[in-house]
């Protein structure tokens, strides 16, 4: 098998004296669809920030595409879709097209301006997520589900090999959530993309992902979702309320 996309090797993180992540080991292979689930405050966002090098681990080692993170510079290989509701000001005066084009900023590099080729990439990315018709609309006027597709297009436009999504279904209605997961599985099958999705919503996530990592400061389980339910790891991460949640879905 080819080299792993992401390796976390004994990663720990603390803010001052508070331990947020403890000894996390995790390997993600090309084509994986990994869901990282855990309750609020379990360290999910911190783990994402460490993977994206927005934070440095207190201990341990992160590798991306076979390179130690300090030596890794091809950040355009990684597309990051932030949590919709918090990532931008909803009064921001920009069209869908302008937002998606900004996804090419890093790959163009300093002082280079986008040309016809880049505009073509934008059209393709918008078609890929099915919102090409909205490209002249102001982003703040769209529904939560549409905004989210735009943010995915912004991440896809630089043609990443790994797509990381933070709580992607917050503020998105149920019908749009279903479409969203269909889109992700298409990306995985057709573009061969590796996906990492972070969510607190275990019920929905485990229905769609290929493997699941249950996080609550430590990593409690990493494997197929079915085994996860069987071995009752969710009660360890979430407490006994997890059982009720599962039946609700």
């Amino acid at each position: 098998m080819s080299e792993p996309v992401l390796v976390l090797d004994q990663v720990s993180f603390h803010y001052g004296h508070r331990q947020v992540l403890e000894n996390i080991n995790l390997t993600v292979w090309p084509g994986d669809f990994l869901g990282i689930v855990g309750p609020n405050g379990s360290g999910k966002s911190t783990l994402l920030k460490i993977i994206l090098r927005l934070l440095r681990p207190s201990e341990g080692q992160v590798s991306l595409f076979g390179l130690r993170q300090e030596k890794f510079h091809q950040w355009t290989k990684i597309g990051y879709v932030p949590q919709n509701a918090n990532s931008f000001h909803h009064g921001f005066p920009a069209t869908v097209q302008e937002v998606v084009l900004s996804g090419l900023t890093a790959s163009l590099g300093l002082f280079k301006r986008p040309g016809a080729e880049e505009h073509q990439y934008v059209v393709e990315a918008l078609e890929q997520v099915g919102v090409a018709g909205l490209r002249k609309r102001v982003i703040g006027e769209l529904s939560g589900g549409q905004q989210q597709r735009v943010l995915i297009a912004k991440a896809l436009v630089s043609r990443p090999a790994l797509l990381i999504l933070d709580e992607p279904t917050v503020g998105v209605d149920l019908a749009a959530q279903e479409q969203f997961y269909n889109l992700l599985s298409e990306l995985r099958k057709e573009a061969g993309m590796t996906l990492i999705l972070v969510s607190h919503d275990i019920g929905v996530v485990t229905e769609h992902v290929g493997s699941v990592a249950c996080l609550n400061r430590k990593l409690y389980f990493h494997g197929a979702p079915a085994d996860c339910w069987a071995k009752d790891f969710f009660s360890q991460t979430y407490g006994s309320a997890a059982r009720v949640l599962r039946h609700a879905h």
């Binding site: 009064g91 920009a94 900004s102 300093l110």
Partner: protein, 278 residues
């Protein structure tokens, strides 16, 4: 008079160029900060008997470096760094003004702007440094856009956010110091925010926001200077009141004619811009 219009036109281009990113990032207070520091710089020039605009530029660049250093130290409290620098600027200005016993016409022309006091030397400095700032911001346009949209996302995507931010702070420092010669220290930050606030009332894209902001700033500066010249007023007041008039017209035409589209008031950026900038 002609010098004032030439300098005014450059200022009308500079202020919205910087203003759009300050407003979108809700950093309008940085405008206040550099105008206070510029006042100290002018007072230093008057006190030391050297060209005040040069000392103002020098001290503003020093403050820009100070701001970046403070922001790195107090990463969690960006506002605090700005508040500290404002305190530094104003207290230093007060001391230097009293030392120089400089409550005179020169200082007043810097406080409120001037049509007649702009010298050939001023105009030269404003045009040269102004072109430099415009070129720099034009070159960093796409980086500044994505940082304004989502700074953390830009960082995650590998954009060199710290470098771009540092260059932008320098561009801001220069813009405010140069603009104060025309509109005056007390009103610079208004010319930075008000045309952008007016543009946000009507715009349907980032591109149109930029174009409207330039248009409104140019109208405000030229009309304001014209009024100031003929009515013998300090131009700062007439320029900023004109741009507030444009803002009112823009807000009304949005309300009554539906220009700029329906937008939820809660998601408008304009309230924030006004609250912090005026």
């Amino acid at each position: 008079m002609q010098r004032a219009f030439a300098a005014g036109l450059m200022v009308a281009l500079l202020c919205p160029t910087i203003g759009i990113f300050l407003v979108l990032r809700r950093l309008s207070m940085i405008g206040e900060m550099f105008s206070h520091v510029s006042l100290a710089g002018v007072a230093l020039g008057v006190f030391a008997g050297v060209y005040p605009l040069a000392t103002a530029v020098g001290l503003s660049l020093f403050a820009a470096a100070g701001l970046e250093a403070l922001r790195r130290t107090y990463r969690m409290f960006g506002d605090l760094a700005i508040a500290l620098m404002i305190s530094f600027g104003i207290s230093l200005a007060v001391i230097l003004i009293s030392l120089a016993q400089a409550f005179n016409a020169t200082l007043f022309s810097y406080l409120f702007g001037s049509v007649i006091a702009i010298t050939g030397q001023d105009l030269q400095l404003i045009l040269i440094l102004g072109i430099l700032v415009l070129a720099l911001v034009y070159a960093l346009q796409k980086e500044l856009f994505i940082i304004a949209f989502d700074e953390e996302g830009a960082r995650a995507a590998g954009v060199r956010v710290d470098l771009v931010n540092a260059l932008f702070v320098v561009a801001t420092a220069l813009t405010i110091t140069l603009s104060m010669r025309v509109v005056g220290i007390l009103l610079v930050s208004s010319l930075i925010t008000v045309p952008v606030a007016a543009a946000l009332q009507l715009s349907r894209s980032y591109r149109s926001t930029v174009l409207y902001a330039y248009l409104f700033a140019i109208i405000a500066v030229l009309l304001g200077l014209f009024i100031a010249f003929h009515a013998d007023l300090a131009p700062g007041g007439s320029i900023v009141l004109t741009s507030l008039g444009i803002f009112t017209l823009a807000a009304l035409s949005r309300k009554f004619f539906g220009l700029g589209g329906e937008r939820d008031e809660n998601t408008s950026l304009v309230g924030t811009a006004e609250g912090k900038g005026l």
